[in-house]
Amino acid sequence: MLKFTSDHEWILVENDSATVGITQYAQEQLGDVVFVDLPKSGASFEAGAAAVVVESVKAASDVYSPITGEIVDVNQEVADNPSLVNSDPMGKGWLFKMKIADQSQLDKLMDEQAYRALIAGAPHA
């Protein structure tokens, strides 16, 4: 199951674990990513808390955890090669994996259709 937040994060759910990244729209807005500040495995975040900072030359963007949970893995490849976030934000540019604490939080998130509608109306810089 693939869901989205209004802050342009995506979350791919498989049973009780989830992978999180930023969307195509988000990476376009940011420009070329030069650095990704990933959390440590084992860190816990509430839904809506800033978990990652993604930096381009002109902006530093907080990436918020879509749901409450514990980080179980972070993408070391992205730390070594930040441009993956630009070239493959939905795939190789994933940021972290987490254990889902409360499945019901997923219901509050947007599905793909709703997210597409959101960005259709959004301004492009």
């Binding site: 070329d32 030069v34 650095f35 930096e55 030359v57 002109k58 530093a60 810089a125």
Partner: protein, 961 residues
């Protein structure tokens, strides 16, 4: 008695660009019948000041310099051996004339357009390399404001990088007193505690997030901090060493002792004491912590042809991007002084610097040996330049006798249960001085003379295991330019690469790049202004006292504030000091829970960053489509936070260049909930003589003396950001340990009581030469010039914001966003194409992304302003070609800008346009063409491959010089 020439051509007519004839023509273009009418259409009537400025009549340049000489004569530049962070030094004449006194260097702006700043960026890379090498750490930044604030920044950085929740920071008692005081001020607002003690006995590493040590100590002792540093590391705490750069040529550097961060001052690398400043401070750290560094960082990247090029790296840490989450609020730093210090190091090289250090160390050893022979109790055993002598009841006698022979010693009334004096030797200390010091302790001149011969072989004593063994300054740049001719040419080559105000207008919005008149600058290097120690007895600084009092009175008259503090040495520092005053005010009334600071979304990044440093919580107020504060949103947020409201920070006119009609109402809303109004004075150039912030509602605010009042930008500092306050806030101005009679509730924010005092000469003389009439005329023409540009450009680039009558204040914003869609052209593309036309771009994407903010100032002539408008209009035509399909979106004059002379000379010119079009577009003359030394610089590459020290020699040779 004014001379004929001065009445015909008062200084104001030299400072202000447009002639009376120009003014008439420009009024016709903007459609105003007179300047008064233009002003009436621009400024809301209800904020206009009721009467003209009451200031003394204008002086001519000759008269002003004569006045400066009179005031200088009231300063007595004695030989100050006070030390405590400030030392005599000799600025090599070739550096004085070609950097400090050279408008090519001092009128430059911060290197945000790196293609036209390669010269000063290279000098900053040299500075960073010098600091990294000397401190034995991997990465250093491009300067901080002074050693004490650098220590405070290091404390904040330590808290960021230490992975503990502790809130205690330890400071060794041998740190300079002003450093301890500034640390305490900074910590208090953030809820941290500073424990001061002996690091060998009182430091509990498990309780602190970090600690700072002074090396050598303020009283002279060199101690080995490796053990406490190891304990800190074992407890995940961060160690900071405040180190004397010159001593580091002889001592094991902080990096080799295990320290995480080093801070200090580069003052003694050729920069005069200046009664407190300006000087460049430094900070250095390990590569792992680079993202936590405050301030600007010069870095190495490549341009579009793969040639090495310099730029400002990792800007995403800074306040203009991160705002309240920035690593620091610092904006203006001390670049010009860092450049001077770097040239000092280039000129002397490692051997020269070491020789200077050895001579100082030996001088101190001779001094000490003589005092011991005299029976004095010298408490210092391992030292570099400073010794402390226990004199007990004789303290005043010794100080007085020294003073009578023209020497200031350090007065240490109470130290470990006794009274002492301190003596610091420096680059200027002669044998004659040492003999006089011995006489102050009771020696006779004859015995002193004999003794100095006998003791000529005395040696400094640095413990073997603290002696430096590692190399430093190995890069060729510190070895190649040792003759005056070579250094002169090196400095000239670097200057030639840069575009500063001495070549063309720099229309940066909100930077106010106006004339920095030569007469204003000249007294800076007179010994009576340059060579005073900030902690010298006040009786020796009566010239400064007089100048500061006069300037303070002038600024009060201009702003309406009741009291001024000159301590903050940048606008951001002023914001921080002003907000601390507000906080202390609320606390004094039992309202310490007031911590909310309202800040408009359009505010400059330093505002929220400063609020955060002052311990406040930022609540953002929306701006409406016109760019003005959304008053309804303000009212709602003020009400919602009524009992916790501390202040609002406003900029007026706004950062959008508009005099918001509702400013009084905005101030009233905040006041009605017992909040204070902080006014960011960055845009004061639109008000001087016409409106006074304190009159329409401001309680406190800073002035940027390096904007409105002519202190040159220097490439990113020095600056001065004094704050003005209404009477009720005066008790909460920053105090200083050297001013026991001054304010005493809020501690210092700067190392020296008057910040960078010596450059106060510049605004003082500016105001004396302009007087009220001239200052008001300057403001009026600044507004005329901006409105003229707005009129000429509006048909080509839509104006984003206008006031009620379609007027802008002293700056205007043009919207380039539509061009992205119609032609694929970005703000960057236009900025780089302007370089081909010989211009520095206006401010890009602040306060609104995709726009240019243009501020001409009053100093630009109609001729230059027209040249700029013509260039912008010509560029619009180039963009039209793209829109109409005559030029390709991905390969055109803008996308490939800036064009270099190397490209021009290339046999295989393969652009879809001619060389003439590229390099000599309309209006660009062959004889005054500015050539950027590099093509467009790859910012992404530079941040992904961070290099902040001099690249190795092979790369040097690869790029064709």
């Amino acid at each position: 008695m004014p001379t004929e020439s001065s009445t015909l051509l008062p200084f104001a007519s030299r400072h202000i660009g447009p002639s009376p004839k120009d003014v008439s023509e420009m009024l016709a273009v903007v459609g105003a019948a007179s300047l008064d009418e233009l002003l009436a259409q621009t400024l809301p009537q209800d904020i206009r000041q009721r009467r003209p400025l009451y200031l003394p009549s204008a002086l001519s340049e000759a008269e002003a310099l004569e006045r400066a000489r009179q005031v200088a004569s009231q300063n007595i530049a004695m030989t100050s051996l006070i030390g405590q962070g400030y030392y005599g030094t000799i600025l090599p004449p070739v550096i004085q004339r070609n950097i400090l006194e050279n408008p090519a260097w001092y009128t430059a702006y911060t290197p945000y357009q790196p293609e036209i700043s390669q010269g000063r960026l290279e000098a900053l890379i040299n500075f960073q390399t010098m600091v990294a090498d000397l401190t034995g750490l991997e990465i250093a930044n491009a300067s901080l404001l002074d050693e004490a604030t650098a220590a405070a920044e290091a404390m904040a950085m330590a808290q960021r990088i230490s992975e503990t929740e502790r809130t205690v920071f330890f400071a060794d008692h041998d740190c300079h007193p002003q450093t301890l005081a500034v640390l305490k001020t900074r910590a208090e607002a953030l809820g941290w505690q500073v424990h001061v003690g002996d690091s060998m006995r009182d430091l509990d590493a498990s309780e602190v997030f970090g600690a700072i040590f002074q090396y050598p100590g303020t009283f002279g002792e060199i101690r080995d901090f490796r053990e406490p540093i190891a304990k800190l590391k074992a407890n995940n705490a961060i160690s900071v060493i405040a180190a004397d750069l010159l001593a580091l040529t002889l001592l094991k550097p902080p990096g080799e002792l295990g320290a995480d961060i080093a801070v200090g001052s580069a003052q003694r690398f050729g920069v005069p004491m200046g009664y407190g400043g300006p000087h460049a401070a430094y900070i250095a750290t390990r590569d792992a912590h680079k993202r936590a560094l405050p301030g600007r960082l010069a870095g190495v990247s490549i341009d579009s042809h793969g040639n090495r090029a310099y730029r400002l790296a990792l800007q995403t840490r800074e306040q203009h991007i991160r705002r309240e989450k920035a690593t620091s609020n610092i904006c203006t730093a001390q670049v010009l002084l860092a450049v001077i210090a770097s040239m000092y190091a280039v000129y002397y090289g490692p051997e020269g610097l070491t020789a200077i250090a050895r001579r100082i160390s030996k001088t101190a050893a001779v001094l000490r040996a003589g005092l011991v022979a005299l029976g004095c109790k010298v408490s210092t055993s391992a030292f570099f330049d400073t010794i402390t002598v226990d004199v007990g009841a004789r303290r005043q006698e010794v100080l007085d006798r020294a003073r009578d022979s023209g020497i200031n010693l350090r007065d240490i009334p109470s130290h470990h249960g006794t009274s002492c004096v301190g003596i610091s030797c420096d680059e200027t200390t002669t044998r004659d001085t040492i003999e006089k010091v011995w006489c102050a302790f009771g020696d006779s001149p004859e015995t002193a003379a004999r003794r100095s011969v006998e003791l000529a072989g005395a040696r400094g004593d640095i413990a073997t295991d603290l002696r430096r063994s590692s190399e430093f300054l190995t890069h060729p740049v510190f070895h190649q330019y040792r003759s005056e001719t070579e250094l002169l040419r090196y400095m000239r080559r670097l200057a030639d690469r840069d575009l500063a105000l001495d070549r063309s207008m720099i229309p940066l919005g909100s930077c106010t790049m106006k004339l920095n008149a030569t007469a204003e600058m000249m007294p800076l290097t007179w010994p009576e202004f340059a060579n005073l120690h900030p902690f010298a007895p006040v009786s020796q600084a009566q010239g400064y006292a007089s100048l500061i009092a006069q300037l303070g009175a002038t600024l009060r008259e201009i702003t309406g504030y009741d009291a001024i503090s000159f301590q903050p040495n940048s606008g951001a520092q002023g914001e921080y000091a002003g907000l601390l005053a507000v906080r202390a005010y609320h606390q004094s009334r039992g309202q310490g829970h007031r911590t909310i600071c309202l800040i408009p979304a359009s505010a400059h990044g330093t505002n929220p960053a400063s609020a955060h440093m002052a311990g406040m919580d930022v609540v953002v107020v929306r701006c409406n489509e016109s760019g003005n504060i959304d008053v309804a949103d303000l009212r709602a947020k003020a009400e919602a936070n009524a009992d916790r409201l501390a202040a609002i920070m406003i900029t007026y006119p706004s950062t959008h260049g508009v005099f918001e009609e509702e400013v009084r109402a905005i101030c009233d809303i905040v006041h009605s909930h017992d909040g204070q109004v902080y006014l960011d004075g960055a845009n004061l150039n639109a008000q001087v003589g016409l409106a006074r912030p304190a009159d329409y509602g401001a309680d406190v605010g800073h002035l940027n003396l390096h904007k409105t009042f002519c202190i040159p930008h220097g490439g990113g500092g020095p600056g001065m950001g004094p704050i003005g306050v209404k009477a009720h806030l005066a008790p909460f101005l920053p105090g200083h340990p050297e001013q026991p009679d001054g304010p005493s509730i809020v501690g210092p924010v700067s190392a020296a009581p008057y910040g960078s005092a010596s450059i106060l000469v510049i605004p003082w003389l500016y105001c004396l030469m302009m007087s009220g009439e001239g200052l008001t005329a300057a403001t009026t023409i600044a507004i005329l010039n901006a409105n003229y540009i707005a009129r000429r450009l509006d048909p080509h680039y839509p104006l984003l914001y206008k006031g009620r009558f379609g007027r802008v204040a002293h700056e205007c914003i043009v919207d380039l966003r539509p061009l992205k869609n119609s032609a694929g052209v970005s703000v960057d593309d236009v900025a780089k194409r302007l370089i081909d036309y010989g211009f520095h771009a206006p401010t890009m994407s602040f306060p609104v992304a995709g726009t240019l903010m243009i501020e001409p100032t009053e100093s630009e002539s109609k001729m230059e302003i027209d040249r700029f408008c013509d260039a912008m209009i010509a560029i619009r035509e180039e963009i039209r070609s793209i829109e109409q399909g005559q030029a390709l979106q991905d390969n055109n004059l803008l996308k490939n800008a800036p064009h270099t002379v190397l490209e021009l000379a290339d046999e295989t010119w393969q652009r879809p346009y001619s060389r003439m079009q590229a390099c000599f577009p309309k209006g660009v003359s062959a004889t005054s063409k500015y050539w950027p030394p590099v093509n467009r610089i790859d910012n992404v590459y530079g941040d992904r491959n961070l290099i902040c020290t001099c690249p190795p020699v092979e790369q040097f040779q690869a790029a064709a010089e």
